[in-house]
């Protein structure tokens, strides 16, 4: 399920009542805007033609009193625009107060991935599946810099701030898959901190939770974890730091610094990430990798190992992430 878009789209999809009403608001506001500006533009053009130097024209003062005119063209447009302040404010307050029965999904932002945790415990990276016809509340926090979770399909976004929870809720009424983004600039791979939100029929959502769909452990999620923990800084082919390359590692025999050999299986990789040095140091390398024990949660560790197992291919046909992390999120199809 990838978002489908034509080459030139002129209006974004709206999947919640708030989204639909926001669109009406902006359309109505545009009508008012045109009513206030088109006369000005027409007047300027008309005056420029009519009163050009050399044109015969009546230039006698019109005798219009300035103060009255001035006050009316200040206050009438102001009063009209206040309608839109009130409309926008009502919608905003509604969108900031979730109903008490909303389903809560935890969202964590970090450079540069989103992690979502469902109430039943399943978690996903960069992608989010939610049921429709039910209020869903995201409780959002950041582990490092300020991010922002932006869901254009429901016309909502809110910042993910370190050390403080923020909330965003919506009630979708149409199924479909749309973009989700980080909208607060957060450093190098800000634009790769994006994924997809899939709105599902409640039955499909339950099915997805229980039947494997939610056990998101595909290599795409693994790549996001690999990037988020900065593994590539040392292990990528173009890295300045001397560390073993990881593509093709899984299943191979590895010579260790103490002279023994081990097969790089799941257990070895797990131990190696959590406690990399000591008797697990690879032959010919220095002890520089820090321990990730307590830093990488278990589900992310599984994703990371699956990614290494997949020979570091985020998607079928995509080149292994040996070089830069560029473009990796583009073709990511689990």
């Amino acid at each position: 399920m990838t978002p489908h878009h034509s080459a030139l789209e002129l209006w974004p999809a709206a999947v919640s009542a708030k989204a639909v009403e926001t669109d009406y608001l902006i359309l109505a506001f545009t009508v008012l805007t045109l009513a206030l500006t088109v006369p000005v533009f027409l007047a300027i053009t008309w005056f420029a033609l009519r009163y050009r130097d050399g044109q015969e024209a009546d230039r006698e003062p019109s005798g219009i009193r300035s103060n009255l005119v001035e006050i009316s063209w200040m206050l009438i447009p102001f009063a009209l625009t206040l309608i839109f302040f009130a409309w926008g404010a009502r919608l905003f307050v509604h969108s900031k107060n979730p109903p008490p029965d909303a389903m809560v999904i935890e969202a964590i932002g970090r450079q540069w991935m989103w992690k979502f945790q469902h109430p039943t415990g399943q978690s996903e990276i960069n992608d989010l599946h939610v049921p429709i016809n039910q209020p869903v509340k995201l409780r959002i926090i950041s582990q490092d810099v300020i991010h922002a979770l932006y869901l254009p399909a429901v016309r909502m976004q809110v910042a993910a701030i370190p050390g403080r929870y923020t909330e965003l809720w919506f009630k979708a009424d149409r199924a479909g898959t749309y973009h989700l983004y980080c909208s607060e600039y957060c450093g190098t791979d800000h634009s790769l901190m994006e994924g997809r939100i899939t709105f599902m029929e409640p039955g499909d959502y339950q099915e997805w939770l229980t039947h494997g769909g939610a056990q998101q452990s595909g290599p795409a999620a693994g790549l996001a974890v690999y990037n988020a923990y900065g593994c590539g800084t040392c292990h990528n082919a173009d890295s300045q730091i001397r560390a073993p390359r990881l593509a093709g590692l899984y299943g191979r025999e590895v010579k260790l610094a103490d002279g023994t050999t081990r097969v790089a299986d799941d257990t070895y990789l797990r131990e190696k990430i959590l406690n990399p040095n000591g008797n697990r140091l690879a032959e010919g390398y220095k002890q520089i990798m820090p321990s990730y024990a307590g830093k990488v949660p278990d589900d992310d560790l599984t994703r990371l190992i699956n990614y290494l197992k997949s020979d570091m291919r985020a998607a079928a046909g995509a080149p292994a992430a040996q070089g830069s992390t560029q473009g990796s999120a583009q073709g990511a199809t689990p």
Binding site: F47, Y51, I146, S183, T188, Q326
Partner: protein, 559 residues
């Protein structure tokens, strides 16, 4: 005040051309002395304005090249042209240089410096040496920031949000921050100089309600310089301390609050929008009456609106933070206040339009820029109201809609006013006329190029494309290519005036004292003016904007 005093004998022999006949034996300020020392140690407000003009033009070119890099990268969606880091550094340099080293000093430091003493009938600013000091502080700070670019660049965005800037960015943040902090002092001193000058240096008879709107606008701008700049200075110093010593003001890892930085940042940076916009309004309020040969409609309202804008703008900073964890009550208050700030802005647009009504219009280059300005400023202002609408902001915040909006204000407002003013007062600054046809062509090119570049970005933003994205979903490519194509037209439009204006310095027709039949004391003296501005005592007219065509209200209010 005497460093550039006239030494006629020495100068006369070096003259490439004779000064204005009206000056007689007195040399104009450009030819009073021509050593490098006489420029770099000058205390003449006019020469300092020229120093600023040269400096900010250089920074504009740097900022524009960075914008070109950004538009180049966005031609393809997958970031194939440059790395994400290069892209991030390019938009950061573009923002930092354009905001801090071009837009903020642009009109006040050049036109304000040159024209305020002339317009009020004074010989110089109140503190000429302080004025020169301001330029040195500006250059010192700006060059300090450029050091960071030479070393490898900054990737925080011009907004420097913590804790990205304090703890996470691996780029040259400290020199950039220190440079911007230093430049702030230049703003404060310029603002102080203008306020004191306007209060104390007006010629006999030049009462407050005879001041041109340009002077009113700069008075209002100076108040913002004085009251708001110290806040950003403080915030930036705290940011520097945080990055260097982890003092724990903004980074939650050390007990700080990252949202606090946003409050302090926007407490200055929103009023800073009016530092950029008000002087532009002042320029337009001079150009429109001159080219309509008609008194400015509702002079007093426009004057009050300038002060009104400068005041209300201090109470709207929170509209940058509707989705950033600010309380709902604060958001509601900031939203309604932001609607209120649009009122005095709208007054001015309607007043310029009414000024054209029944005027005697000449569509020369400055007027074309002024008309372009009105169109773009209206669009920028009204899309600002969309953004002030809370529910809409939740959708388009931090998207290309915002990018388009503020470029309509900054480029449509400040840059077009700057270029209009540059053409309007060029004869006064240099004593030379540019080729009118070339001026008109460039004005039209810039208007078209600007709209092709930035209008598609409103659509991109509403479709949900976030700003500051080095890569983006492929469905946005068509509009991005259109925008980049527009940027090339815009670039040609910018390049053209640089060429023909420089050309005019040597080959342009000599300018008379008042080539546009404009009113205002700056047109009463020679082009270019003598070192002490006026040879005799300037005669202050009975009413401001004393043009041949006057609406009835003018006589009843001022007669």
């Amino acid at each position: 005040m005497s460093a550039s005093g006239t030494v006629e004998g020495e100068v006369a022999s070096r003259e490439p051309h004779a000064p204005e006949a009206t000056l007689g034996r007195h040399a104009d300020y450009l030819h009073a002395k021509s050593t490098l020392r006489s420029w770099f140690l000058t205390t003449d407000h006019k020469r300092i304005a020229i120093l600023y003009l040269a400096s900010i033009t250089a920074f504009f070119v740097i900022g524009a090249v960075a914008a070109g890099v950004v538009r180049l990268a966005l031609i393809v969606p997958n970031g194939a042209i440059m790395t994400n880091d290069t892209y991030n550094k390019a938009f950061t340099i573009h923002g930092v240089v354009m905001v801090w080293f071009f837009l903020i000093p642009s009109i006040p430091a050049t036109f304000g410096n040159f024209l305020i003493p002339l317009m009020i009938g004074a010989k110089d600013l109140a503190f000429p040496k302080l004025n020169l000091t301001s330029w040195y502080i500006f250059m010192g700070g700006a060059l300090f920031t450029m050091v960071s670019v030479v070393l490898g660049g900054v990737d925080t965005g011009w907004t420097f949000y913590a804790p990205l800037s304090t703890a996470f960015s691996n780029s040259w943040v400290l020199p950039a921050l220190i440079g911007v902090t230093i430049v702030g002092f230049s703003s404060i001193l310029t603002g102080l100089n203008f306020v004191v000058t306007i209060h104390t240096m007006r010629a006999p008879g030049m009462t407050w309600f005879k001041l041109p709107i340009f002077v009113w606008a700069h008075y209002a701008t100076s108040l913002i310089f004085l009251l708001a700049t110290p806040v950003i200075t403080t915030a930036l110093i705290l940011l520097i301390m945080e990055r260097a010593f982890h003092i724990g003001v903004f980074d939650p890892a050390y007990g700080g609050d990252p949202v606090l930085f946003q409050h302090l940042f926007w407490f200055y940076s929103h009023p800073a929008v009016y530092i950029m916009v008000l002087p532009g309004m002042g320029v337009i309020s001079e150009i429109v009456p001159a080219f309509a040969q008609k008194k400015l409609f509702g002079y007093r309202f426009v004057a009050y609106a300038s002060i009104g804008l400068a005041s209300v703008t201090f109470f709207v900073w929170g509209h940058h933070m509707f989705v950033n964890g600010q309380s709902d009550l604060a958001s509601l208050a900031f939203s309604v206040l932001s609607f209120a700030v649009a009122v005095p802005s709208a007054v001015k647009v309607y007043n310029w339009t009414a000024t054209i009504h029944k005027g005697r219009l000449r569509l020369d280059t400055p007027m074309l820029y002024a008309m372009g300005y009105i169109g773009l400023f209206v669009l920028g202002g009204l899309t600002g109201l969309y953004l002030a609408t809370l529910a809409v902001n939740q959708h388009v915040h931090a998207t290309y809609f915002v990018v388009a909006h503020f470029h309509y204000i900054m480029v449509g407002g400040t840059v077009l006013a700057f270029l209009g003013g540059l053409h309007f007062w060029w004869p006064k600054f240099t004593g030379r006329m540019y080729v009118e046809a070339w001026g008109r062509i460039s004005a039209v090119l810039i208007f078209i190029g600007f709209n092709v570049t930035f209008f598609p970005q409103f659509i991109l933003g509403y479709l949900g494309m976030p700003r500051r994205y080095a890569t983006y979903p492929p469905e946005f490519q068509l509009l991005n290519i259109l925008s980049s194509a527009g940027a090339t037209i815009l670039a040609a439009g910018y390049l053209f005036p640089m060429l023909y204006l420089v050309y005019s310095l040597w080959f342009g027709r000599k300018a008379p004292a008042n080539p546009w039949d404009a009113k205002g004391l700056e047109w009463e003296t020679a082009s270019p003016p003598p070192t002490h501005n006026f040879l005799g005592d300037p005669q202050v007219p009975k009413i401001p904007y004393d043009y041949p065509i006057q609406a009835q209200e003018a006589r009843s209010q001022h007669g």
